[in-house]
């Protein structure tokens, strides 16, 4: 078996895995009832994006630093997003005594 036939050298496997992560993230984002659960699902979507970037970076790009730097930037943005989102969640919990997404609906009338 030549090394190029192994499934870890085929880009489709990584792309399918990234698609699975993205789909799981979308499912969690729709079905989760707490804000932290939705945040975790959003992190899965971020991971899917960086896995996709690195797959294309490994197989189809002439300059292999581009995708790695993009994945690094995605990680930094995810960290910033988590910091902000968690502080908002803590503030919401202080005011509403709940992190349930349904509880924060005063404006819906």
């Amino acid at each position: 078996m030549s090394p190029n036939q192994l499934c870890c050298h085929r880009p489709e496997v990584y792309l399918a895995l990234a698609a699975f992560l993205f789909a799981a993230g979308v499912f969690g984002l729709v079905r989760r009832r707490t804000l932290i659960g939705m945040l975790i699902a959003g992190e899965l979507i971020f991971s899917a994006a960086s896995l996709n970037f690195l797959t294309f970076n490994r197989f189809f790009v002439e300059d292999p630093t581009v995708g790695q730097l993009m994945a690094l930037f995605i990680m930094a943005l995810a960290a910033a997003e988590v910091a902000i989102a968690l502080s908002i969640i803590i503030a919401v919990y202080r005011n509403y005594r709940s992190i349930n997404a349904k509880a924060v609906s005063e404006l819906s009338g």
Binding site: R32, I40, R58, F59, V61, A80, L86, I88, I99
Partner: protein, 177 residues
Amino acid sequence: MKPFPAADLLVLGVFAVAVLLTVAGALIAVLSTRLIRSVCGLALTCFGLALLYYFLHSPFLALMEILIYVGAICVTIIFAVMLAEPDEAPAQESRGAAFLWGGLALVVSGAVFWALVQLGWGHAWAAPTSRANAGTVHDLGVALLTTYSLAFELISLVLLAAILGALVIAHHGRSKS
């Protein structure tokens, strides 16, 4: 040089472990009812992804994945889980409605998955004819300080703004209560 015996099988085994970790972690993160378990699922997914990044010739990114996602993000989320309500409240909706909306979400995410897999699998991707560099940490550093220096500085500004914003929001909530 004689190759290591059954090297292909070993590589396949490690790859299978990485895929399994990623998939199982994502399922745990999305499906478990207790929040602390879904955070652990996210950490599992990140370990699997770090292994996959090794397979994708990005060892620096694998290290960063473990350092940032498992070491920083998961720990921060665990702190928030401990500060706030630990568990999801039992569903307010009726059994039929839960079944309907869960089925709908499953169908939508399944369709997204199927469509993306079709896109990725059916396409004849063109491999590059040449490589500009090897993509090592040295190349990454050079690119970060030459081509992408503006993006690098902007990211640091974003992180600074995020830290300040988190401090302000958390402090405001405390003074109010």
